[in-house]
């Protein structure tokens, strides 16, 4: 089994075999980050362009390190510095970047579907680094890799995702991947951030402690502070009163449960410091695995692009 798509726009629709292949491939890249000289020549001469229409430090840096460890040239463009602020359309941005012949495009955009739109117009592979409230596939892959490493498997695990489910692209990618891999998903959050239609994705709980009962994995979501102005909750204080992962709340999970968070964390709002820094937390393992996942995806997609380009030349 291999991974045959030309882009990584989302995890929805990927088969279990494809996901396993992606995880195995990422696993093989982990070791490079532990070497003294953390660089291989695999993508030498390739250009990876990161197009970030939304602020991000962690994801962009992770992609940059991943690209550089593979010896690719990495160019990062952020919305603030780009012509977007001068009124250029996404279509024109796409055409211009395509004309510069990148080998891979990494896109973060506040609008759902924007990477899909770009993928229709650029000739190179597109990696979705987060599109609105839609998907964030490399985040979910690094979550799954972390879970697999820590718990030895994914199938059969009970996984609780907690927080702002409605606006979370991390949730969507994880729900698709976890369910495909055979895990059971629970969704926990206030009804304002967890509409009834989402019950199709997992068991819904409005109460944190009962939702966490016996789970093997707790996946906390970052709460965007601007949600409180829109009446999704009366205040951050009241949110944390009911949905903050404290040591006490975590006690209802399985004794060997692990805690994930995509970061950056709001200490004391969705997660207490004791939990974030405690023995159950695998948050920094996630960050470590993120580089391996992104190296693997860059390798698989840019490598394919080269093969296709060479075929075209020969043909």
């Amino acid at each position: 089994m291999t991974f045959t798509s030309s882009h990584l726009l989302g995890l929805e629709g990927l088969s279990r075999a494809e996901l396993e292949y992606l995880l195995d491939s990422a696993e093989s890249f982990r070791e490079i980050s532990d070497r003294e000289i953390k660089k291989v020549p695999t993508l030498r001469g390739k250009t990876v362009v990161a197009l970030f229409f939304e602020a991000s430090t962690r994801t962009r840096t992770s992609f940059e390190i991943a690209a550089k460890r593979l010896s690719a040239d990495f160019v990062s463009i952020s919305a603030e510095s780009s012509s977007v602020t001068k009124g250029e359309t996404l279509l024109d941005t796409a055409r211009n970047i395509a004309a510069m012949q990148p080998d891979c495009l990494v896109v973060r955009h506040p609008r759902a579907g924007a990477p899909h739109f770009l993928a229709r117009y650029v000739p190179c592979p597109v990696i979705n680094a987060g599109d609105g409230a839609h998907e964030h596939p490399t985040q979910a892959l690094l979550d799954l890799l972390t879970i697999r490493n820590k718990r030895g498997r994914i199938a059969g695990l009970e996984v609780a995702i907690v927080g702002d489910i409605l606006h979370s692209r991390v949730t969507r990618s994880n729900v698709h991947a976890l369910r495909t891999m055979g895990a059971r998903v629970r969704l926990i959050g206030p009804p304002t951030l967890l509409p009834p239609a989402m019950a199709a994705w997992g068991d819904v709980y409005y109460d944190l402690k009962s939702g966490l009962r016996g789970v093997d994995v707790v996946m906390m979501l970052r709460l965007q502070r601007e949600r409180q102005g829109a009446n999704f909750m009366p205040s951050l204080d009241e949110y944390s009163r009911y949905y903050c992962l404290t040591r006490e709340a975590l006690a209802s999970a399985s004794p060997d449960a692990i805690v994930l968070h995509p970061g950056p964390i709001n200490r004391g709002i969705e997660i207490s410091s004791e939990v974030a820094d405690g023995h159950a937390s695998v948050i920094l393992d996630q960050v470590f695995n993120g580089v391996a996942v992104r190296m693997s995806i860059l390798y698989l997609l840019s490598g394919r692009h080269r093969a296709v380009a060479e075929e075209r030349r020969v043909g």
């Binding site: 609008r111 579907g113 899909h116 599109d131 409230a133 409605l166 509409p195 239609a197 199709a200």
Partner: protein, 432 residues
């Protein structure tokens, strides 16, 4: 082009619900009016013959909800291109909404639109005046002045009337002129910055939803007002099962309420938004199958009075963008009839009901001298070939804009001929 001479339409099946006439008849037209409708072969007259064998001969189709974009947005559509699109789709008349630039909230703009229509010389154009000045939802527009210039209804379509007391006054005041108040039912707060129907698909795609309740809550308000004020309320593009329930109940109580549905709301569901197709983005949004089923049933029952397209041309630059950034609305004049005929074939819609929904009822609601093939009526006639198979080619649309989700769809049925005031305006010479 045949000037208003004599035309004899022979061999077709007449469907004329107002005069309770369905079957083989010949129709004679002279000087722009219908002068005889008789059993086949009975009419002896010197006239150009139109062979309608295998076709339906119906009162001219009327699309009571279009946006012609002129004045102000001529890059999207003009009165000339919009009315060409209309006749190509079988429509002899259209009613156009007021959201032009400047807004049609004065006699001057109404007269301008009617002038452009006269110059174009294609489908008849019936302007709809703004309900409020500049569609701002604050004070009533000068409805009487516009009525004298030729408007047939008032509406702030596209800009829901959030202020209940303004809606009340509009319903009261419009009774002087006996014209309907046409409402775009959408609670602006509930709809928020949603871009599609709120349901499973929007959560899947990570797009913001507009709940069905945004339409239903506003309709409930307006029906309660109508009960109090009297007058006539016409519900534009009704789209949810809950709205149909409210409409059905209001009609049972005898309220003077009518409603239209668009072809896209009975032909598509929110599933069409998958892949972020911006040509599936409109207001109200495409709903779920359970809504579509109820809408079709209500159309069959006559609870929904009319089929109207909400023809909303947009330039490709306004659609070829991210889904969130795309304009709301699609063109519809050239795909409406075949989509309605699809219901005749697949959902037991009676052809007589189709003619009521696409001609008789729009004429009745707007008070037009149309919708009937009675002797003496203006000769606005559509000859429909219900079996003509074709494929929608967006670039071939006569509308200036091509924003339709039906590109590439195989269709069965089309207007063979569109006759307005006794003149054959479709097909044009050299076309079809």
């Amino acid at each position: 082009m045949s000037q208003a001479g004599a035309l004899l339409i022979t061999g077709g099946t007449v469907i004329d619900p107002v005069n309770d006439r369905t079957g083989p008849f010949d129709v004679l037209v002279r000087d722009g009016r219908i002068v005889a409708v008789e059993a086949p072969g009975r009419i002896e007259a010197a006239a150009d013959r139109v062979d309608a064998a295998g076709c339906w001969v119906t009162p001219g189709l009327i699309d009571m909800h279009v946006h012609l974009r002129e004045p102000g947005y001529e890059y999207k559509e003009t009165v000339a291109t919009g009315t060409l699109s209309a006749v190509a789709g079988g429509f002899t008349a259209v009613a156009c909404m007021a959201n032009t630039k400047p807004v049609n909230d004065s006699a001057a703009v109404t007269e301008f639109i009617l002038d452009r229509a006269r110059i174009a010389g294609l489908a008849r154009v019936h302007p709809i005046g703004a309900l409020s000045v500049n569609l701002a939802g604050r004070e009533l527009a000068e409805i009487g002045e516009m009525f004298e210039a030729g408007i047939v209804a008032i509406s702030d379509d596209g800009m829901p009337v959030a202020d209940g007391s303004l809606m009340r006054r509009a319903l009261e005041y419009a009774q002087i002129f006996d014209i309907p108040v046409i409402v775009h039912e959408e609670d602006p707060q509930l709809a928020g910055d949603g871009v599609m129907h709120e349901g499973g698909t929007c959560h899947h795609l990570g797009l913001r939803g507009m709940p069905a309740a945004a339409e239903e809550a506003m309709l409930a308000r307006d029906l309660a007002l109508l009960q109090q004020t009297g007058g006539r309320l016409h519900v534009a593009h009704i789209s949810t099962a809950g709205s149909i329930r409210l409409l059905r109940e209001a009609k049972l109580r005898g309220l003077m309420v009518t409603a239209e549905v668009t072809p896209h709301h009975f032909a598509l569901t929110d599933d069409a938004v998958r892949d972020y197709d911006t040509n599936a983005k409109m207001k109200p949004p495409l709903r779920q199958q359970s809504d579509v089923d109820v809408v079709i049933e209500a159309l069959r029952d006559g609870i929904i009075d009319a089929i109207a397209t909400d023809h909303a041309p947009h330039h490709r630059d306004e659609k070829d963008v991210e889904f969130d950034a795309a304009a709301f609305g699609i063109v519809g004049l050239e795909t409406s009839l075949p989509l309605a005929l699809k219901l005749v074939r697949e959902a037991d819609l009676d052809p007589v009901t189709l003619v009521r929904a696409m001609s008789v009822n729009p004429a009745r609601i707007l008070g037009l001298e149309a919708g009937s093939l009675a002797v003496g009526m203006p000769a606005d006639i559509t000859v429909i070939d219900p079996n003509h198979a074709w494929t929608v080619d967006l670039e071939g649309l006569r509308s200036k804009s091509k924003n339709s989700p039906f590109g590439g769809w195989p269709m069965v049925g089309a207007a063979r001929m569109t006759i307005v005031g006794g003149r054959i305006l479709w097909p044009r010479e050299g076309e079809k």
